[in-house]
């Protein structure tokens, strides 16, 4: 039976997918959440200032940081799920192929 890594490479090749890196996914989650936190603190800083003192466009930065940071964190989270699903599918595909191969009988 072929190695799981071979099966995974074959799955990527067959479906035209790019290999995903677990470390990059973790980094995406961390960076995303950090950006969202920075945006939150920036917004908190603006919210306690008097109404007339803060122009409306000043809110754009914190809002964008929160939205984009959340998006990045979700993308990283999804990347982990994709990696797990891909590995499971590659494993199942390998088992299916192995089951249909003719066995050597002595």
């Amino acid at each position: 039976m072929p190695e799981p890594a071979d099966e995974l490479a074959r799955l990527y090749r067959d479906l035209g997918l790019k290999p995903l890196r677990p470390l990059w996914a973790k980094l995406e989650i961390l960076l995303g959440l950090a950006a969202a936190a920075v945006g939150l603190f920036a917004g908190m800083g603006l919210s306690h200032r008097p109404t007339g003192e803060v122009p409306p466009w000043a809110w754009a930065g914190p809002v964008a940081l929160c939205a984009l940071g959340g998006y990045l964190a979700l993308a990283g989270h999804r990347s982990h799920l994709y990696q797990s699903s891909n590995r499971l599918t590659a494993y199942l595909a390998g088992r299916t192929r192995a089951a249909s191969e003719p066995r050597d009988h002595p």
């Binding site: 919210s47 809110w59 929160c66 939205a67 595909a93």
Partner: protein, 145 residues
């Protein structure tokens, strides 16, 4: 084989299960819009929270008679912001889920295609089996499907 018929097998999976084709870009837009809505509503809530705290302090410690009226006026925007937050979060999760469905569908179609092709290979007549009178191996059908 799965290598060449990826789109066909995906369409077949959708047809067989009665699914609608999912749009990748729509999923992204849903997530982005949802997160944007959440962020806006969060800051509205923060902004309101400062007003609420200020008025509660005025009402409690300084016995300001205008404070309760201001607090009552903040209930409507507060509920609106909370609803926006929930709606935005829901939309972001829908987009997130849509991407996962899309990936799972592709993988399931790949596996289904593989199983189908393996089934066809298994159904092919065994060339080493003893031949019958019609030139085909024993147990094989003259029509190959």
């Amino acid at each position: 084989m799965a290598t060449t018929q990826s789109n066909e097998s995906l369409e077949r999976l959708h047809r067989d299960l009665g699914f609608q084709r999912l749009s990748h870009w729509w999923g992204r837009a849903e997530m982005f819009l949802g997160l944007l809505t959440m962020a806006v509503s969060m800051f509205v809530m923060l902004y309101l929270a400062v007003d609420v705290l200020a008025n509660v302090i005025q009402k409690t410690f300084w016995k300001d008679p205008a404070a309760p009226a201001v607090l009552t006026g903040l209930i409507g925007p507060g509920i609106g912001a909370a609803f926006l937050f929930a709606f935005g979060g829901y939309l972001a999760l829908v987009g997130h889920r849509r991407h996962l469905y899309e990936s799972n569908d592709r993988l399931a179609a790949y596996l289904a295609d593989l199983i189908r092709s393996q089934g066809r290979t298994a159904a092919l007549p065994d060339a080493t089996a003893p031949a019958t009178g019609n030139g085909l191996p024993a147990g094989s059908s003259p029509v190959r499907v």
